[in-house]
């Protein structure tokens, strides 16, 4: 193991990678700090550039970018009451209230430190759990992979959204997109409408760029200026009083890290959900829950830790099973495939140095977060004044050229545009977009493993439940579906036993 770590460290210490880390840190901080640009969009726009990187460099780029972006989302939340990315939404009100009370420096200091600590704790969980799970995953067959993907789909609908019906619809749309092209059993072209471009299916990256980039541009077309009053901060003062606050809430940080990584490991739920759940848990166990939402620092500690802890957790199922933990790791899986690498347990044996490099880059990114975060806070006033009426057209250009660059195909620009319209329409009608992505990635896994299993056993469905590992995953999947009804069932059961 030490050998692998040393190899990974040696690979990471090249000037090319250090440059990648620096550029991607700045990129991540910028994207996170500018409201309306999300980490997912940034990851999708990074993909064309990963063509020209080796796999290691590509993974390091994405890890660094996302860690920085999720922290930087806290900056506009505190200064202008607009979360920079959805992951900061949970504690935006508390942050802004504290800023109004003149405590902007404390909030940002807590933000940067909890992000770094949460990220490091997540990295530890990733380093310990992923190799263990990979050992288990080696025994998995098509039955288990079917259930894993089904579990991912279920978690997306039941846990990761406020309206399961609408999330379900989005997921079904994504699954439908995944069926376009030649089918696995007979090679029969499905829903291609005679187009040769569609024979290979809807390309995932232009779709992502459309759903997360173009839809956001369309939304920003309403107003040419978003002028908000920006609170100025004294960056030198952000670390004073932070240590005392963090020490007071040390138990909260441990709990929030655990929640964050667990939500991350669950396929389908990302950092935004982790923040909301950590916020709710914080309120539930707090000594002063009445202060929440009115400028409490406690939920900022909790949720700020959880969303960064979640990021490393998201990589666990992605690396071990090839099943994404969130939309960014869905992109990571796409990038690995383009590099000819198949995420899954074998990657731990065949290319352990790649896995270790992911671990180490999480650690490096989260340590670098403190100085880089300080600098970002120092220039936050200028970051927030970036003229949107120039930024948005510029991003549109990157979307177009990026979509084209994947296959050098004009058809893909059309796919991007169509997905942009779809994403815009969905979001405005309360239908979340992220499940579409997970549907597109998980669709082939569910269908292929189901059909392979069926053909293998000549349509004997019992095999899905009789293998021990498959049975456990099946029970988990069914429990996920029952989760919303469990409290009601428990109440009924209790009242029945009480009356009897």
């Amino acid at each position: 193991m030490i050998d692998h770590i040393l190899t990974a460290l040696a690979m990471l210490s090249s000037w090319k990678l250090l440059l990648t880390i620096t550029i991607c840190s700045i990129y991540g901080l910028f994207v996170g700090a500018v409201p309306g640009l999300t980490a997912t969009m940034a990851a999708a726009l990074l993909v064309p550039f990963t063509f020209f990187m080796d796999p290691l460099q590509a993974l390091v780029a994405i890890v660094t970018m996302e860690a920085m972006a999720i922290f930087a989302g806290d900056i506009p939340a505190a200064l202008v009451r607009i979360p920079g990315t959805p992951s900061s939404a949970a504690y935006t009100d508390d942050s802004y209230e504290l800023t109004k009370q003149g405590k902007a420096e404390l909030v940002l200091g807590v933000d940067v430190m909890t992000s770094a600590i949460g990220g490091l704790m997540g990295a530890v969980v990733l380093m310990t759990s992923a190799p263990l799970l990979a050992e288990v995953a080696l025994m998995f067959t098509s039955f288990e992979y079917f259930w894993l993907a089904a579990l991912g789909l279920s978690a997306t609908v039941m846990i990761a959204s406020t309206n399961p019906l609408k999330a379900g619809l989005a997921l079904l749309v994504g699954l439908f997109f995944s069926t376009v092209g030649l089918d696995i059993t007979l090679g029969y072209p499905r829903f291609t409408f005679g187009s040769t471009e569609l024979l290979n299916g809807v390309d995932f990256i232009p779709a992502m760029i459309g759903l997360f980039g173009v839809s956001e541009i369309l939304r920003n077309m309403a107003s040419s200026h978003l002028q908000y009053p920006i609170t100025s901060v004294k960056a030198e003062k952000i670390f004073s009083g932070v240590a005392k606050t963090l020490w007071k809430y040390k138990a909260n940080m441990v709990r929030a890290s655990a929640i964050g990584t667990f939500i991350g490991i669950l396929p389908g739920a990302g950092a935004d959900i982790a923040a909301w759940i950590a916020y709710a848990a914080s309120k539930r166990f707090s000594k002063e829950p009445e202060k929440f939402g009115k400028g409490a620092i406690e939920p900022i500690v909790d949720a700020g830790t959880a969303n960064n802890a979640c990021l490393a957790g998201d990589w666990v199922p992605a690396l071990v099973f090839g099943i994404p933990g969130d939309s960014i790791t869905a992109i990571v899986i796409g990038v690995l495939f383009m590099k000819g690498l198949r995420p899954g347990p074998m990657i731990f044996q065949q290319q352990p140095e790649l896995v270790y490099a992911v671990y180490i880059s999480f650690i490096i990114a989260n340590i670098l977060m403190v100085p880089f975060g300080y600098l970002a806070i120092k220039v936050s006033g200028n970051l927030l004044k970036v003229p949107r009426n120039i930024l948005m057209p510029a991003i549109l250009m990157f979307c177009i050229v990026g979509s084209f660059a994947i296959n050098n195909s004009f058809f893909d620009i059309g796919v991007m545009l169509a997905m942009g319209i779809l994403g815009y329409f969905f979001e405005n009608n309360g239908i979340p977009v992220a499940p579409i992505v997970l549907g597109m990635v998980l669709g082939p896994i569910v269908e292929q493993n189901f059909m392979i299993s069926m053909i293998k056993t000549q349509w004997d469905l019992t095999q899905f439940f009789t293998r021990p590992a498959a049975a456990i995953l099946a029970v988990l999947t069914i429990l996920t579906w029952l989760a919303p009804f469990l409290p009601a069932l428990a109440r009924r059961f209790r009242s029945q036993t009480a009356s009897a």
Binding site: T179, I390, L396, M454, W459
Partner: protein
């Protein structure tokens, strides 16, 4: 563009039905087992059911949240700008092979910035400079074959 849930749900019911209809002529596997059609049919069916439920939910809460004023839509800046982006990208796809990236890209950038009220001179300068940087980055550094068109570089 918020539309009533009842209508959105009905749209999904129709989409689900269309998906199932699209699979009716798909071949079956040996022994008559469903093959290519199985998964899309399950999806279509579930989409119709979920859509129906969303529709009913919309009726029950009588959501009057519709914010589209269809008669005044053509006067809304947001709508016009969004349409400019859509038509602009379509025009880009059609023109770029003949005219080339340097001109088409700069033109698209300029039009969108102009719609977003960037002063004309500034918009022209930013469009040309930024587009040239993008061209250099993608075509020269990353070797993406962006169409040359009538300008060569």
């Amino acid at each position: 563009m918020k539309i009533s849930d009842t209508v959105v749900g009905a749209g999904f019911v129709a989409a689900g039905a269309l998906i199932i209809a699209g699979t009716l002529n798909y071949p079956t596997l040996d022994g008559g087992h469903p093959g290519p059609s199985l998964f899309p049919r399950i999806l279509g069916g579930m989409m119709a059911v979920f859509g129906g439920l969303v529709s009913v939910q919309g009726l029950r809460v009588r959501d009057a949240t519709e914010d589209v004023d269809w008669l005044r839509l053509h006067r809304s800046t947001a709508f016009i700008n969004a349409m400019v982006v859509l038509v602009g990208v379509l025009a880009y796809i059609l023109l770029v092979e003949r005219v080339g990236f340097l001109l088409t890209g700069a033109l698209l950038l300029f039009i969108v910035m102009w719609r977003l009220k960037v002063p004309v001179v500034k918009a022209v300068i930013v469009a040309v400079v930024f587009n040239t940087i993008v061209h250099f980055l993608f075509a020269k550094v990353m070797r993406v074959p962006l169409p040359m068109g009538i300008l060569w570089w």
